[in-house]
Symmetry: C2
Subunit: 183 residues, 2 copies
């Protein structure tokens, strides 16, 4: 069981300032459609700022219940996977309550190093057990250090055809889901 | 040699109206970074509307020469791959003039049928010859019928884990480039 988590947590940016990223409309749309395409169990959007969660809720409700639901039923089907939470802890509790198992957290990032989980290893784990896995993506300057440190696994970074390694989070989700669940 | 083409051509939408899609800022950013990551030779944005081409030119120049170039040199490196053209014919002429070979056109789309080129076949072609291939992506309601009919190849659609097949063009570019050129 695979769940996608898009994390908007305070991190230090390259100027050393603490930044909490905003929820981007395009991230919601693109990642919800990817989650639906690759049969993820859920897509969690995590943001500690109440106004950000309200805004995300309004966008989602437009496509689930409002004009958008009638205009585009495919978007509605994808948006049904979305759940908005305040913290990663709330995500873990939600999945544990629903599935009866504590989920394993797998963090992603272009700059991860140390002991890394290979794509093939995670694919095998997803195929061989029926436990919940949280695939965590950061926004802006990446995933907060304490979240990386507390994770069960760090996924190997995406490599293209060279040293350039600066993809949009939307693109990273697309590539990683296809590697893990594509047929 | 692989070139990416993002086509904004008049097509009939689901209500039967003729629509030319606009150039989306997020498409430019995401696809340029993907093209750079997977070492594409170039990323062509094609739009027949002069005002749309001007707007795209301004966005690109901001990241190549303006404030953005100093703010984010990784974005500048990706944007160097972008070329804006009025028609697909202009793209073909540009590549033929540069490489000395007429490029083969490969169209993509969730709804393509008939004789389809497999991902593995195209990957093999890209590895075994040094000829230019144009990978053409549509926007909005897809690629205009006459472009599909005139193409050399139709690429098989992306399949996920089910029947849902409604990805953003940005996501499709990510997945297809990774399948063709990922390591």
């Amino acid at each position: 069981m695979l769940y996608i988590v898009l994390l908007h947590y305070p991190v230090y940016n390259k100027e050393g300032r603490v930044v909490t990223t905003s929820i981007a409309n395009m991230d919601i749309h693109d990642i919800a459609r990817l989650a639906k395409t690759y049969a993820a169990q859920g897509f969690y959007i995590v943001n500690p700022v109440p106004e950000q969660r309200s805004l995300a809720g309004e966008i989602i409700s437009h496509w689930q219940d409002g004009y958008g639901a009638a205009y585009n039923r495919f978007r509605k089907a994808a948006f049904e996977l979305i759940r908005i939470k305040e913290s990663l802890r709330d995500v873990v509790d939600d999945i544990a309550g629903e599935s009866g198992f504590m989920p394993k957290t797998v963090v992603t990032g272009a700059g991860l190093s140390g002991r890394l989980l290979k794509f093939a290893e995670l694919k095998e784990m997803l195929n061989s057990d029926n436990l919940p896995y949280l695939l965590v993506f950061g926004t802006g300057s990446g995933i907060a250090g304490e979240v990386v440190d507390a994770a069960d696994y760090k996924l190997e970074p995406i490599k293209g055809n060279g040293n350039y390694n600066h993809l949009a989070v939307r693109s990273a989700v697309a590539i990683i889901l296809d590697r893990l669940k594509g047929v």
